[in-house]
Symmetry: C2
Subunit: 551 residues, 2 copies
Amino acid sequence: MSNLTATQQQAWQALSQHYEAFQATKLSELFAQDSQRFAKYSFEAAGWLLDYSKNHVSTETIKALVNLAEACELPAAIKAMTNGVAINNTEQRAVGHMALRIPRAQNGGEAQQFIVNGEDQMPLVHAVLGQCSRFANAVRSGQWLGYTGQAITDVVNIGIGGSDLGPQMATIALREYWQKGLQLHFVSNVDGHDISETLERLNPATTLFVIASKTFTTQETMANAHAARRWFLAGFENNTQSSSQNIAIGKHFVAVSTNAQAVQAFGIDAANMFGFWDWVGGRYSMWSAIGMPMMLAIGPERFAQFLSGAHAMDEHFKAAPLQRNMPVLLALLEVWYRNFYKTNSRCIAPYHHRLRRLPAYLQQLDMESLGKSVDREGQPLTRSSGTVIWGEPGTNGQHAYFQLLHQGTDVIPVDFILVAQPDHSIPDQQRMLLANGLAQSRALMVGRNLADSGSSHKTFIGNRPSNTLVTQHLTPESLGALIAMYEHKVFVCSVIWNINAFDQWGVELGKVLAKGTEQLLMPDGQPSEAAIASTDSSTLGLANYLRAKSH
Amino acid sequence: MSNLTATQQQAWQALSQHYEAFQATKLSELFAQDSQRFAKYSFEAAGWLLDYSKNHVSTETIKALVNLAEACELPAAIKAMTNGVAINNTEQRAVGHMALRIPRAQNGGEAQQFIVNGEDQMPLVHAVLGQCSRFANAVRSGQWLGYTGQAITDVVNIGIGGSDLGPQMATIALREYWQKGLQLHFVSNVDGHDISETLERLNPATTLFVIASKTFTTQETMANAHAARRWFLAGFENNTQSSSQNIAIGKHFVAVSTNAQAVQAFGIDAANMFGFWDWVGGRYSMWSAIGMPMMLAIGPERFAQFLSGAHAMDEHFKAAPLQRNMPVLLALLEVWYRNFYKTNSRCIAPYHHRLRRLPAYLQQLDMESLGKSVDREGQPLTRSSGTVIWGEPGTNGQHAYFQLLHQGTDVIPVDFILVAQPDHSIPDQQRMLLANGLAQSRALMVGRNLADSGSSHKTFIGNRPSNTLVTQHLTPESLGALIAMYEHKVFVCSVIWNINAFDQWGVELGKVLAKGTEQLLMPDGQPSEAAIASTDSSTLGLANYLRAKSH
């Protein structure tokens, strides 16, 4: 924020003044003043309804926020991303997750392009998607066989961060569409309990491993991949069939990676390596070959619907006026709360049990993108940027942390996510679920005063804001649109704060230090003096304690 | 804080002055100044090492914080809890989770008592524990048979909040000790997907349901219990064996409850109702019959070890001087950060995959206990109370939200939880796991300056605090001690803030509003004018939209 243009300074200033005048106005007053508030502050896009009426906003607020977005040249930023400009400036890369969702041209129409360094990337995108689809179909149809000639019954995705959270969250969400007889598993943690617990239930002869690591060097993923390989070969050697080890590995391991040499050294057939590009960031990669577990679970056609739902949100994002643009409004509300109301976290409350991993997914998407302290030019920010994202599904959260949302000393905005139609046949429970979601957002807003409650312990301040997002049914399309919406929301925040949402330098230092720290934990002998000198008494003391307690 | 004694005012004042003088001192300076910092700021209790040296504390800080604790009469508060005083003053109840951990007298020694309203509760506690143990042993040994004469293979715990999060977290944590051939499942959400997905894998003839609801009226739990009952009877009726419906239900449903009438009306034999008492709060109840799923999974003897680990922490908490008291120090550090450094959340990072539900468990324990805005007398607080608790297991978090911990604009204290010995046989991965945990806490502390990083995008401010907790092995004992430690930490915070940690009035309003909101969602006809008048245009608009989209 150090290098604000005059227009930007004016826009922030106007918001400050508006905040001072407006902040005493209660949400319930806004509703009392305007019977049309819901109609005015809600709209649909790409299969989702956003109701943002239970927020601290008036026509003037939205105007001032949109004015800030314009001062920050948001429309140009959206165009730059669309046009393959290297907006990831610290890594000199374009940002192409929207391109991953562009459909093939149909009926002789003109295809959308995504030009990076003068070259249209869409043929590459669609070629890999075709390769992935053929592979997924072969596994799903039982045509792809393991080394004993049996079809695959279990798929284990080994990846971490962006190679895990997205596909895992979406695969759980779309459980209704899973192929019968094919189970999906996800292993991410370097903690050996994760892979051990997963493998102990599986049969090597019918298990397929998808090793997802762009560089094929990610420490956690490679450790788990090698553990899986050892387990597989142990099972294989116990088997009497004679077939060479490498041929067998090739039938049970595939890779999502770009490092062909390392993939082949591992024993994976280069034909079964599914690639992507440097303009696909880890936390934006589930639309690429990283989505392989989804394709295996729900099939390539439904995966195409997932892409198509996201594409519908992309088109909305690119075309809708800012004041009626869902990701833009959600982002501006975030900025409004973060920088003026000084909020420090947002609670994500999906009222759908299959969206239970959405908060963990959004933690990476949002916090890794927006947890920055310098602007795009490297100048220290003078305003707060990204906040903590957290949550558990409703109604569970109501019996856990909602107490603090209602009666704690901090104001914490909430996103309620509701789905009208369930995939089960207990309509009463669906009605209870939705009634609870609506009741919570209303309770947060209206509160309860002393006269009604009879005790200050039972009084609720109320006046606590929330968004409500509603879709008809949790399908590949609606899920795709929801995720794309949050992606774009994060991007818009980054434009307003002038930060790079696509790098993550903050994860580097820990990786470097972990290498040195391993030396301190070696079972035999003392760590070297150099290793000791390069650390602190706490790390050294803890390492000594852990070493002593390991035996 | 409105009614502070002179001594309390002085203690807060002294901390303010100390903060002003101390806050510019960096963590790395504290380490540079004192080579013995780890030794001074770490100690063991009940099988856990706490290293709190990577916090913004000096000898003076601890002295001033302990002084505050004394001014708030913490020792007397601990005694009052121990002695069965009705410290849950808004509900006029004693608080007895520590009593649930008191062992039977051994070798003719004198038994500890827990006197509530003049009566020792310990005989009741041990009687129910005995009843639970006999039942658990019968199921585990295969002596307890289902209606077709088969042994139980699957147990489904149906409960929510305190009747779910504790037993679920602990059962997952202690997976190493599960009885072979007995699978545990947990259903909590009123969302019908939760129960439907669970039941579709199970066989009614070998499934046992534990319905956990103190009042046997909890909406979510009873809805799921009735869904389970319908599913069971459908399976039963398809079965050709002739045996009366109620006898069959009695073999497959038991209750953890105190409402004998409702339990029997459901079809459960009163002999299979396991009770507890009004001095056991929901979120403090896993030590009681609510721990039934744990007893079934790991057996009554190991459950006794779990209690004994907690009891060891209780004894430490009651006896250790405040400045060397683990829960007390953790609480004082929380107050220090929350009220002086103005932190708004704490990240829980367990470096053990089986502790992956610990953050969700602690969300309820901490946020439901401390998310209050009035003091014990009902006066508005003038300081911030409870914060957001969140997290995912390491190393997963490192590839997701750690970016924001390192480079975000907010300071977020972290609890690192490390376990020396794993229950798997991949020592390299265990070493990587621990090295990563140590490296992250060091990276947060030391940061990286511009000279070393070469770019302000790669610079880390550092100076970010964390606790590290270490135990030798994740066992029933060490888990019990860990949970008791966090319980007492929460209690100490509540004493300092003078709030009631044992009520949760903030969850009431939503429940009331949900009943009315259900009317708005009925499929046929329009909601009544009264129902419409009693709500707001947002809730009504959303209800109309959901109704329209439900068909």
